[in-house]
Amino acid sequence: MSAETDTAQTETARTDTAQTDTAQTETAQTLDAVADPPVDGSELIRFDQVTKRFGDNTVLDRLDFSVDSGKHVTLIGPSGSGKTTILRLLMTLATPDEGTIKVGGAYLTHEERGGKLVRAGEKHVREVRKNIGMVFQQFNLFPNMKVLRNITEAPVTVLGLSKDEAEERARELLELVGLREHVDKYPGQLSGGQQQRVAIARALAMRPRVLLLDEVTSALDPELVVGVLDVLRDIARSTDITMLCVTHEMNFARDISDQVLMFDSGRVIESGPPQKIFSDPEQERTREFLGAVL
């Protein structure tokens, strides 16, 4: 895939988004309709004393933090500081060793039974997990499905949408990410940037309330990064989806975030609005880190 084509497509993506703005707002509204009570601004995610260890290595150390509905939160910090682990815990790709996580008021990996907190069964986990979508560093599209089916399969199988509904939704989303004409290709026929944009569309097709973005541009060639970030900026601007974002793209973080959390050694050492963190951090460690990456 040549760089030019990708840039060209990014531009199409921008114009397309302008045209589908109405569709966008609808998405945002339906999102609320689909979701459980919490209204915009209320607490959507809560980590309570969460500890995660890998062997002797404590990746998260009695972590407390919460994210309000509709907010865009960026997690920054040196590698190994536990940022990605937070996303993986939320996605239930890992389970906490101690502590609890709540999403939309419900425990993610636990259930209350007779006043006691016990490990939840798969059914409960899936119900809560429905609220969460994730985009991976390595895209992880299904190579055995064409682009369209990558996006429609889960809405049809998991949410029970009709095939037509799901395809219509998929085509809208593909338009949003500027890949309308690629519906009939296999992921292997797309560039990394295109694959990542399909992956974003795939996650959005489930209409999650929370979108987790795990270093989504780290595996891309530099010239393909722009297109992916532009799509995410559009989504951040035009939907009220809550975003949790691990990234090394500090400019992007500054643009879209309401709040930045600085991690070190499994703890949040500083948090605040991006203007504050990026221009006037309080902690020496934050200053050091930003000095190294900016």
């Binding site: 040549s2 798969e122 026929q189």
Partner: protein
């Protein structure tokens, strides 16, 4: 030299019997291979244990002795099997055990990241297996299954010792009748080879089709000269894909049907 009458009364039906035994034992073996192979990845330890025990026991059994046992010993428990079915069962049970290792290994070789993507989309375990893991593992299974199928074909010669009139049985009769040892056994060798070759061609075709089905060798469309499709898009796409796979692979080797 062998008479044409002998050929049509013994040899042709013999070939047919060999084909039948191969197909039936392969069908039984495939059911066992998938059942046991999937069960060995189960969440429930008891299921894993039973499947693992089956695998260990039947992998370690001589197909010939098992065949004798089913033909001569089983009737002592009041269950008389037709010789043909005794042979098919013995072969299916043992080769199915080997096949389960192919199924298990190919499924284990599907990148963990694919499973995680499935979880992120809220698929159930069974949906992930059906929609993501099995379709991706399937093409990887073809070459080892081809090997196993050829082993099975050659293994069917064993049924001749429990009086099933397959082509080896016919060959032995012919040798006894005519004393033309060399031509008879040469003919048999060639016949097994030809059948094995047919199997290989068939499996290659299945493999190609399976790979096209997961977009590894997509069917040609548009051709080289077209604007956006064709050759231009390939290098980036393929590179990105192998990169995506490479990083997310589990630590172990991507070998299929290897050791435990």
């Amino acid at each position: 030299m062998m008479s044409s009458e002998f050929f049509t009364t013994w040899f042709l039906p013999g070939i047919w019997i060999t084909v039948q035994v191969t197909v039936c034992a392969a069908a039984l073996g495939a059911v066992i291979a998938f059942g046991t192979g999937l069960a060995r990845g189960s969440r429930l330890w008891i299921v894993r244990f039973v499947a693992g025990a089956y695998f260990e026991v039947f992998r370690g059994m001589s197909a010939l002795v098992l065949m004798f046992w089913m033909f001569f010993a089983l009737p002592l428990f009041g269950w008389q099997l037709e010789p043909l079915w005794a042979g098919v069962s013995a072969l299916g049970l043992t080769y199915g055990a080997y096949g389960s290792e192919i199924v298990r290994g190919s499924l284990a070789a599907v990148p963990a990241a694919q499973k995680e993507a499935g979880i992120a989309l809220d698929f159930t375990r069974w949906q992930r297996l059906r929609l993501i893991e099995l379709p991706q593992a399937w093409p990887e299974m073809m070459p080892p299954f081809n090997n196993l199928l050829i082993e099975l074909l050659k293994g069917t010669a064993l049924v001749s010792v429990i009086t099933v009139a397959d082509m080896t049985f016919a060959g032995n009769l012919l040798r006894l009748g005519t004393n033309e040892t060399t031509p008879v056994y040469t003919l048999l060798l060639v016949l097994y080879f030809v059948l094995a070759f047919v199997i290989t061609r068939g499996m290659r075709m299945l493999e190609r089709r399976a790979k096209a089905g997961i977009g590894e060798r997509p069917e040609k469309r548009g051709g080289v000269g077209t604007k956006s499709g064709g050759v231009g898009t390939k290098p980036g796409g393929v590179g990105a894909r192998s990169g995506a796979r490479g990083e997310s692979l589990p630590a172990g080797p991507r070998s299929v049907g290897g050791g435990r």
